[in-house]
């Protein structure tokens, strides 16, 4: 399975309201981060959670965000970051 993004690419997490077993927390939606690594392809948890096979697999990445991007009033040094796993269908180039 091909990866659309590579480490260092800037991505924006989609601002999408979607019910169900979604692994993209609301606090990163609409935020811009940088691909930290490609994790690989995994069954889609949004289907897997309901007894489905989870096919087709989805490419998973780790995305690094500046805390100040996630929380405009973040109380800490500007170098503090957060990393989280995001599936490819939840991001767009930024």
């Amino acid at each position: 399975m091909d990866n659309k993004y590579s480490p260092g690419d800037k991505v924006r997490i989609l601002q999408r309201n979607q019910p169900g077993h979604v692994r993209t927390p609301i606090y990163v939606r609409g935020k811009t981060g940088v691909i930290e690594r490609i994790v690989g392809s995994f069954p889609n948890p949004e289907l897997l959670a309901y007894g489905n096979s989870g096919l087709p697999y989805k490419m998973l990445y780790r995305v690094n965000f500046k805390q100040s991007e996630l929380w405009p009033d973040y109380d800490g040094p500007s170098s503090d970051t957060l990393e989280i796993e995001i599936y490819e269908h939840w991001m767009a180039p930024a």
Binding site: P25, F42, L60, D80, T81, E83, E85, I86
Partner: protein, 219 residues
């Protein structure tokens, strides 16, 4: 009887014999489902009650000592440390641990970076290595605050970090499970593996604290 218990406990008000209540009520539906499935499996001879008890016992017995062995191996063997950081699943297989279907991600604390792990969506945790997560790890306040104000949370755990050190929070939200490789305390160069293992705590591998020598003050 103490004064504050001079009242009737109706169905909406029970202490269950515990002075401090959980912040989340158990899901009754999930409990009924679990009981039904378990009873059916036993009735049909798929598993026995003893099988279930033994599996629970094995899960409960697993603890941070395994994680401590891995950390100390990485501290004392640079080649192993490289493998642990770059092909984590292979590296822990040498200790008889299989993370499948999850994958392990090891994050290293250094002079410049302090790593801390949380699962905001539920309570994902590297159970094959560290066992059952502590109660606070599953609480809503830890899960919400670890990403929002990690330095305040670290301070409450007694972990004071200089502003010059980056705090990197890892939200364990999908298919990876995280292990923090803490920094080896200075002055332990001559220590044996057994001595070092005794220093490595569960909390240091979640990243809410550092590994300290006995009597060592906070940095």
């Amino acid at each position: 009887m103490s004064n504050h218990h001079d009242h009737d406990h109706g169905p909406t008000h029970t202490h269950d014999g515990k002075p401090i209540q959980e912040d989340e009520l158990p899901s009754i539906e999930a409990q009924i489902l679990e009981t039904s499935v378990r009873e059916l499996l036993i009735e049909k001879g798929v598993v026995s009650g003893e099988d279930i008890r033994r599996a629970i016992e094995a899960m409960d017995t697993r603890g941070e000592s395994l994680g401590a062995k891995i950390v100390v191996r990485a501290w004392t063997d640079p080649e192993y440390k490289d493998r642990l950081l770059n092909s984590s699943d292979d590296a822990i297989r040498e200790f008889g641990i299989n993370m499948s279907p999850m994958e392990l991600c090891v994050v290293e604390n250094t002079d410049e970076v302090h790593n801390m792990v949380v699962c905001t969506l539920c309570s994902c945790y590297p159970r094959p290595i560290l066992g059952i997560p502590p109660a606070w790890y599953k609480r809503r306040d830890y899960r919400a605050r670890a990403v929002r104000e990690p330095r305040a949370v670290l301070q409450e755990f007694g972990t004071e970090l200089p502003d010059g050190k980056q705090v990197r929070v890892h939200d364990s939200n999908a298919d990876l499970r995280y292990l923090v490789l803490p920094e080896r305390p200075a002055g332990t160069e001559d220590w044996t593996a057994d001595q070092l293992e005794a220093l490595v705590t569960r909390d240091s591998m979640i990243g809410v604290s550092d590994v300290r020598r006995p009597g060592e003050a906070d940095a």
